[in-house]
């Protein structure tokens, strides 16, 4: 059996599969359940300064098993309330990464300090939610924003900081570089692609918010290209996210340069058992392809590639 453990952003993970933020992350018992199912770590729902109910329903639309459109609207109980949920997950033995979102660098820094105090092993900064006014892409959409926010956070916390960046830009690698300059220990890519759906009978958008973000298998090729470009530009590790549903998807991301992976949408289509299945299947695939350790496969596709570097 190939060794799936990875070192990423100063963390040692039993396998690369992290529960992506926004899925199963509202309650501590759910986080614990995802870890028990086999996840290498779990990322909390993105937490803000105050409780936020999110948008009214409809907040989701599904496409067979290849896509999920959502505009949840960053619902979360707020940083005063949420630590009790983290406590439940940590007590159950889970490796927990805390996700936060703020409206500016100061708010990110304040939230991050409080999140770090809960005992999470790392932070993920949500710089990339595509559908929340005043947050996400709106405050973290340019290299200058990303660098300023990451720097403000890394100044006040001692645990590793992962910057989750948006694909809704023409140059995601520039955002990753900015995160590296700001002191990020890793960068995760990608968040959802801006997207929408319209009901033709009702002549209106399906989502109450109109615009949302697309995830699932449909966006895997986009995520891969982003990870590929980012891997070329930065020296910090990359966490690959976007449409991972099989061991092969996972290994594609790793060969493109990802050192750890996030899985979210597939939980919708398969249940939390996806975190039991994927490590098993990835280990078998690595055996079949002659890799003793997953880390040996990180970025290997770049060596063989004739894709012109910029």
């Amino acid at each position: 059996m190939a060794d799936l453990s990875v070192r990423c952003a100063g963390l040692h993970l039993r396998n690369p599969f992290l529960l992506a933020s926004g899925v199963w992350g509202e309650s501590g018992e759910s986080l614990a359940g995802a870890f028990r199912a086999g996840a290498g770590g779990v990322i909390t729902k993105s937490i803000g300064s105050v409780p936020r109910p999110g948008y009214p329903n409809p907040t989701i639309e599904t496409y067979a098993t290849w896509g999920l459109l959502n505009a949840m609207g960053l619902p979360n109980p707020g940083i005063d309330e949420y630590p009790r949920e983290i406590e439940v997950a940590i007590k159950a033995g889970a490796t927990v990464i805390g996700s936060v979102f703020g409206g500016d660098a100061d708010e990110f820094a304040r939230l991050s300090a409080r999140m770090a105090a809960t005992g999470v092993v790392a932070l993920e900064l949500n710089l990339s939610c595509p559908h929340a006014e005043g947050f996400g892409t709106e405050v973290g959409g340019t290299p200058a924003d990303v660098e300023r926010i990451v720097r403000a956070v890394t100044k006040v916390v001692s645990i590793p900081v992962i910057a989750k960046i948006t694909p809704n830009t023409n140059d995601p690698a520039a955002l990753a570089l900015a995160a590296e300059r700001g002191g990020a220990a890793a960068v995760s890519a990608i968040n959802t692609l801006r997207a929408m759906a319209i009901d033709v009978h009702l002549r209106r958008p399906v989502l109450s918010h109109g615009l949302g973000g697309l995830s699932g298998s449909a966006i895997k090729p986009v995520g891969l290209a982003c990870v590929w470009k980012i891997f070329e530009k930065v020296s910090i590790p990359v966490v690959g996210v976007g449409g991972i549903a099989s061991a092969r998807d996972a290994l594609e991301y790793v060969m493109a340069g990802a050192r750890a992976l996030e899985v979210g949408t597939q939980v919708t289509f398969e249940g939390i058992g996806v975190f039991t299945r994927l490590p098993k299947e990835l280990s078998a695939l690595l055996d079949e392809l002659g890799f003793a350790r997953l880390e040996d496969a990180v970025g290997v596709a770049h060596r063989a590639s004739s894709v012109p570097r910029e």
Binding site: E26, E29, K45, G54, P56, I60
Partner: protein
């Protein structure tokens, strides 16, 4: 994934409860729910109160502002439907005691109908605040169930909580299963009473729900998600759930005590 349908019938069941019927072909079983989209407003989980055939139905009690808005829907209005979702009642037990509090009867009535159609016998302990609010009393009687009533104000049947009626029935007759839906504190009492006679209890649970697909975590109930692991839970699955009859969560995920 959603079908837009037109409301075909609107029935006032009690002063606070309304049934909406609509054409929706997908097969459904008693216990399951659908997501009902009120265009421009909200989309809410609702247990099916009519599950058989191409005309489905939901029965809604005016509680919060959104269920009031559901009640404002008229015949001919378009609504979006997706589902059915969730699990179902096991219809195989022969002697069934139903304990219904308030609008709990909405999900229990179609289950009782099908149990009786399969040769089962059904006794209903039907509770409400006052006589006019006794939901589906005539429907239960018409299907051949025995109905024992309790009202909080004593305006019909036993004066007090329906749990007292359930305890009396459990103490005097044999049952193979108890199905219950209503306030969680009520259901917890039913479980205690049935445990004493070793009768298995199945509870139809409710939590704030958003995606209905087991993804968003809004309806987390201990290690479960009501949308995909429920809404029907065997009592032994709830026993170790600290949330049960203790707290639920609002739209932001904050814990709210019952």
């Amino acid at each position: 994934m959603r079908s837009v349908v037109t409301v075909s019938e609107r029935v006032t069941e009690t002063p606070s409860t309304v049934t909406l019927r609509f054409p929706y072909a997908p097969a459904a079983d008693p216990g399951q729910f659908v997501m009902v989209w009120l265009p421009g407003d909200d989309e809410l989980p609702m247990s099916l109160s009519f599950t058989e055939g191409p005309s489905k139905g939901v029965t809604i009690k005016a509680m919060g502002s959104s269920s009031r808005r559901v009640q404002s829907i008229r015949v001919g209005d378009p609504i979006g439907i997706r589902g059915p979702y969730g699990n179902r009642f096991d219809l195989s037990p022969k002697r069934i005691l139903i304990v219904s509090g308030g609008s709990g009867a909405a999900v229990l009535a179609p289950a009782a109908e099908q149990a009786i159609a399969r040769g089962g016998s059904v006794t209903v302990a039907l509770g409400a605040t006052r006589a006019p609010e006794l939901l589906f009393k005539e429907r239960f009687r018409a299907m051949g169930a025995r109905v024992e009533v309790a009202t909080d104000d004593g305006s019909e049947g036993a004066h007090g909580f329906v749990t007292a009626v359930a305890e009396r029935l459990l103490g005097s007759e044999p049952f193979d299963a108890v199905w219950t839906c209503g306030p969680e504190v009520m259901m917890k009492k039913v479980i205690v009473a049935a445990d004493a006679r070793s009768v298995p209890v199945f509870c139809s649970m409710e939590r704030h729900m958003k995606c209905a697909l087991g993804m968003c975590d809004a309806c987390a109930l201990g290690p479960y998600h009501v949308c995909v692991d429920g809404p029907v839970f065997a009592a032994e699955r709830l026993r170790s759930v600290p949330d049960f009859a203790t707290f639920h969560r609002d739209s932001s995920g904050r814990r709210l005590p019952f």
